[in-house]
């Protein structure tokens, strides 16, 4: 079975993939937007995602993936630097990152990426729209492009706010507790 989701907030996707697993649909492969599931025993696996460092180098990646494998973690599929892993639920709780600082760092990377995307679209959209509306004859192609810019801003703002909230809660925890 194929399902389509845009990966903006990876934590939401992870939750969704685990939800599917608890209903007996196990993730088999995925690309940017298409997720393929196959029938299996409900809740037999726990799924976790990771985003490999883009500039960590090939040996870093190999070593890390090998390391996870030797820890009994199975790689489900990978698309770019986005990877899904799974572990049998019988093995007990499964988290790739047990410390908050790592989680905060990964969230911050995602947040700055989203933020720059939003700002870029906002600037192009606003400049474009003000240019179009100031002339008499409206260029419909340009107008629809700039409206798309603004739509992107609105659409991506929701996951951005969610991610920032998650990060703030983690940071508050760090005020009281070490990792």
């Amino acid at each position: 079975m194929d399902k389509y989701r845009l990966v903006v907030n990876p934590y939401d996707i992870e939750k969704w993939v685990n939800n599917m697993a608890s209903q007996g649909w196990h993730l088999k492969k995925f690309t940017w937007i298409r997720f393929t599931f196959e029938r299996g025993e409900p809740g037999s696996y726990i799924y976790r995602h990771d985003e490999l460092e883009r500039f960590g180098g090939a040996s870093y990646e190999d070593e890390y993936l090998e390391f996870l494998k030797s820890s009994g973690i199975e790689q489900v599929d990978r698309s770019g630097n986005f990877v899904f892993f799974r572990k049998p639920a019988n093995d007990g709780p499964f988290e790739l990152y047990s410390d908050k600082k790592n989680k905060i760092r990964k969230l911050s990377q995602k947040i700055s990426l989203l933020l720059s995307l939003i700002l870029l679209n906002l600037i192009i959209g606003v400049i474009g729209l003000s240019g179009i509306l100031s002339v008499q004859a409206i260029d419909w192609i340009k107008l629809s492009m700039n409206i798309t810019n603004i739509l992107v801003v609105v659409l991506f703002s929701i996951p951005l706010i969610k991610l920032m909230r998650v990060r703030n809660n983690l940071k508050k925890d760090l005020d009281l507790f070490t990792d």
Binding site: D50, E63, F67, S71, G92, P93, L96, T178
Partner: protein
């Protein structure tokens, strides 16, 4: 922190202790869980990141092995760091016991 020997995270403290004998990543994970009676369950990603940083610091070193499953062991400077940490923990422990005893909270 402006201390000369800042506190270690619980994870790093236990990883260093686990490496008084040579171990690979999964071995560290298992021993730490066992030592802490299942309380501390380190994620594989967290252990991997910590190992990388500890190697950079020279607190642990990799042993030449068959390559695939690398084993690590604590170095002399790593042992020093553990020594300071134990002193710090003792200070915390002693002060905690002393004050709660005076108060009667600690029986």
């Amino acid at each position: 922190m402006t201390q000369e020997h800042p506190p270690l995270t619980e994870g790093v403290y236990y990883i260093l202790l686990a490496l008084f004998d040579a171990r690979h990543g999964y071995g560290i994970m298992q021993l730490v869980e066992e030592m802490s009676n299942g309380r501390v369950r380190l994620g594989a990603g967290t252990i991997y990141g910590a190992i990388k940083t500890l190697l950079e610091r020279g607190w642990i070193e990799a042993l030449d092995g068959d390559g695939r499953k690398k084993e690590y062991i604590i170095t002399e400077s790593g042992k020093k760091v553990i020594g300071y940490e134990i002193l710090r923990l003792r200070e915390l422990f002693d002060n905690g016991i002393r004050i709660t005893k005076e108060d009667g909270t600690n029986g």
